[in-house]
């Protein structure tokens, strides 16, 4: 599968065949939480900050 580049540290992040747009991944190098914005081409951006009213 395609590799994406971490927008924080430029590390390589591998997409699996199940990776979906809207999913949050962690960069294995710097630990940044990243939201998948595109699969082909692979695109990542920093995940939205957890808001105070978020929960289950």
């Amino acid at each position: 599968m395609a590799n994406a580049e971490c927008p924080e540290c430029a590390g390589k992040i591998e997409f699996s065949e199940n990776t979906e747009v809207g999913e949050v991944l962690s960069c294995p190098d710097c630990g940044a939480r990243l939201e998948v914005k595109g699969i082909n081409p692979p695109q990542l951006q920093p995940a939205p900050k957890v808001e105070e009213d978020w929960g289950e």
Binding site: V24, P48, W54, E56
Partner: protein
């Protein structure tokens, strides 16, 4: 039959729900809450028969559920469920008036009255935000000095919800609590959530607690179904503690997470949620 799933991000639970729907041949259309622009002036314009609400945002959920229901769309869980169970203060009040054992709880709106409430509860007690989850800003308060510090910190915060002081009796639980899953009129599974060195006294898996299977006894099930019925049939996670006087319900969750509960219970929770979604839509 047009079905939707509304979410903030594609969490592990949402991936499991989407995969389960696909395996059952059910099309779930995706609605990302942050992409929504609701035309409030459009009047009734029903697009979906049923929407499974999985947004993690309380504010977005309240408006989205209200809007969808105004359109004639059935939402699981409903606006009423989100409004009550998304706010710990309303939830505590509803549990008590329904005759369900729940910890002694007070709500105060100034540091002075919060101190008066603490005197009535006694130490240790727990202070929590009325809105929010994952055990954030949940603090065990052992004495008057700690309470003063917690109240002063909250007074400095910009968010007015942090100045709504929700104080609750601390239950001396046996290093674990119980989470039970209610789907429709059945308690389908339950887990123990064990506190760990990482989670401290807290038993929330978001803080590092671990899980194991908990047998669903008739007593446990009855209590959970009664708690879940407060806001009508739906998909709920009921949180309980084992107190010296028996089980007490301290919370009901309306957009439950279950990623750590499938393996220990052996129950296909996402599959049961999708089956319930279909059954409710056909009613």
């Amino acid at each position: 039959m047009r079905l939707g799933i509304c979410y903030t991000l594609v969490s592990a639970e949402n991936k499991l729900l989407l995969a389960s729907a696909k395996s059952k041949g059910v099309k779930l259309e995706r609605i990302v809450d942050s992409n929504a622009a609701l035309e409030l002036s459009a009047g009734r314009k029903k697009e979906y028969d049923t929407i499974l609400q999985r947004s993690v945002s309380y504010s977005r959920t309240i408006y989205l559920n209200y809007y969808f229901e105004q359109q004639g769309t059935q939402v699981i869980n409903s606006y009423k469920a989100a409004r009550i169970f998304g706010d710990k203060a309303l939830c505590s009040s509803e549990l008590a008036t329904a005759g369900i054992p729940t910890p002694k709880t007070f709500l105060a709106f100034s540091p002075e009255t919060a101190v008066q409430a603490a005197d009535k509860i006694g130490f240790p007690l727990v202070i929590k935000p009325a809105i929010g989850s994952w055990a954030r800003m949940v603090h065990r308060i052992n004495d008057a000095d700690s309470l003063q510090a917690a109240l002063e910190s909250r007074a400095q915060m910009g968010n007015p919800w942090q100045k709504v002081y929700y104080l609750q009796e601390h239950i001396n639980k046996p290093g674990r609590d119980i989470r039970a899953f209610v789907i429709g009129d059945e308690t389908v599974a339950a887990i123990y959530r064990h506190s760990t060195e990482k989670s401290g006294w807290i038993t929330n898996t978001a803080k590092g607690a671990t899980t194991s299977n908990c047998k669903v006894t008739p007593d446990l099930s009855e209590l959970c179904l009664k708690a879940a019925s407060i806001a009508g049939s739906g998909v709920y996670a009921v949180d309980l503690m084992e107190s010296e006087k028996g089980l007490v319900v301290h919370e009901v969750n309306h957009t439950t997470e279950f990623r750590n509960s499938i393996e220990p219970t052996g129950v296909d929770i996402p599959g049961k949620i999708i089956e319930y979604l279909i059954e409710r839509t056909k009613r």
